[in-house]
Amino acid sequence: MTDGPQFFDEMFGRGETPRRPYGPFCDWFASEDIARLRRKSTEAEAFFRRTGITFNVYGQAEADERLIPFDVVPRVISAREWARLSKGIEQRVRAINAFLHDIYHRQEILRAGRVPVELIAQNEAFLPQMIGVTPPGGVYTHIVGTDLVRTSEDEFFVLEDNARTPSGVSYMLENRETMLQMFPELFTRIKVQQVQNYPMRLRRSLAAAAPRQCPGKPVIAVLTPGIHNSAYFEHAFLADQMGAELVEGHDLRVADGRIAMRTTRGFTPIDVLYRRVDDDFLDPMSFRPDSMLGAPGIMDVYRAGGITIANAPGTGIADDKAIYSYMPEIVEFYTGEKALLKNVPTWRCSEPDSLAYVLENLPELVVKEVHGSGGYGMLVGPAASKKEIASFRAKLEARPGNYIAQPTLALSTVPILTAKGLAPRHVDLRPFVLVAPDRIDITPGGLTRVALKQGSLVVNSSQGGGTKDTWVLED
């Protein structure tokens, strides 16, 4: 057994009886036949495949579309727990937006010495092109996915602030849709807060952040890199559900000081562009000149206030892993309050003392690339072989500034359904936060990712992770 009682299980706590939020589910589950439930999960898989809810894996040409495995046991969060979490998330997201505005304007936080200047000045995620630019409505991060992990009854940590282009929301929606279809009886028994209106909330939130000059109903479009992008399904899904156009770079051009899309009847200006293209590729005239994915000239239009780009260019400076370690200070600096959600203690390998500590304790630590994502290029000390640790050590010594390290957290587990019944697996949670000029709106639920391999702590879908429906209960 790798998963002893040292891990907090969200269904059973550290004992045998279900925790309260799971009570009604466990009653239902006890009366169910496991074979039937297993059959249902196979059905769910067929449904996902037929619908084309797949993601593309880079560098694997043959199996280039894969399913993310779906587990039928929901992850349940009580209304009380959720209320606490959302307060913390809201505070953090508010601080992130204030930080971004500050960092691209007066840089008070640097002057106050709370965040070191080098961290900003030498950071690739900092966009000089954004200096002095205020986005329409003052919103930088229209959509945030705050990654949370839990370690005990009362302890949650923020693992990452995804402030660029967080993905996964389509899985939150399709997972719920699947559960509703497979187990309608559960939803009459248990009152679960709905997530299905997320696309409408997103639309409302984006529309509220349209440029001030925008008359009437704003025209919204989703910018995708195209059908070969790993999250293409989600781009199409969101455009479809919001009633927005799905555009690619070559559909766009500048016309009369606006960004316009080529339609069968001519060019139509866009007010809000929900872009799912990275900063680097957004505008070949301002960033990477070889980019075919963006719209040449969009930055000029943007700076002149002619379009809203969601999320704003340059927000990556707020979710950079080196900046992450300063989040408690950042929250306090801009809100005047202590951060409600904890940060995971983080060693910045750029600092000699920290580096020494990290090198000494590699087998116990998780080491991540500062700019990495998706679970690539990271070391999970306790799960790594001696050889892997040795080769990672070399990389770390060569470029210490490129890494941060964190203790290996005792991530909570939630059971999944296996052939033998329920078995605990580690999970994390990504709630989706919408920011409009006048409000922050958090959809009650999110994407629960689960490491399907026993004992594994890596939940990324590209590394064998699956997903679960996430239930936030009504009061």
């Binding site: 084309g52 479809d240 559909d251």
Partner: protein, 313 residues
Amino acid sequence: MLGKTAGGLYWMFRYLERTENTARLVEAGFRIALTRPDSAKDEWASVLDTIGVRNAFVEKRGEIDGPAVVDFLLRDKTNPSSVMSALKAARDNGRMVRIALTREVWEATNECWITLTEALARPVRERDLPTVLALIRQQSAQVRGALHGTMLRNEVYDFARMGTFIERADNTARILDVKYYVLLPSLAQIGSSLDNVQWETILRSVGGQRAYRFLHGGDISPRGIAEFMILDGRMPRSLAFCTRKISDNLGYLEIDYGQRVDSHDKVDRLLGSLTGSTIDQVFDRGLHEFILDFLSDAASLSQQIATDYRFTG
């Protein structure tokens, strides 16, 4: 609607149609191979000509022989007209325009792709060929059924239909282009009218052998076949039928958009050349020239539609 979306719909349905047409040509070739083994090799060569991939085939596979041709036409990823390539292109376009499709159309397309990818994962054994060909027909029929049954009759539908009919007209004309000589009077004297392999093959490759018999009874003649495939407005794969459909769809778009485009004039001229002719006039002017003119007009019509509706930037 985005120009790209219009183009995506148009090409999605062109490729779907191509999938079906290639399968039908394989079916006709296979039939000959079974019933008239002596003519098999010539027939496979003319199937490759019709699809325009004879050189590519010879380069890649060498000597023409049945199983190799079948494999090349059904499965070969380097052959852009193979069933698998065309289907993949259809689905890629479908993914691109997914938000313009109903869930039913998308799922039918995706399921068609999943099913046929599986059925064509390995070379098809001769004894399985009829089943696989039937599967291709059936799967593509499901996409078409979903389109008819669930889509709004609006611009989306119009672009999808125009793609279908351009491809279909092109296919029928290509079959005639390769086989026109067997319909010429000089040769017609030679074969017996009761048992002319070539005539039967032409009809079979457009799935029209039963329809033709229904309309003409036992009176099977080259002129009858040519008329059936070129001018007969009841025959859903005839040049006249397809051209009229495109003109209709452009007409609906004209009402919708309040603007007449150049391709509409172009298609109406083409339609005029078909409806204004009798089959005797076609033969008098030269069947082959007529077909060649049609092919080039259809290609330029396709270009014009792409320009008029801004498929690309």
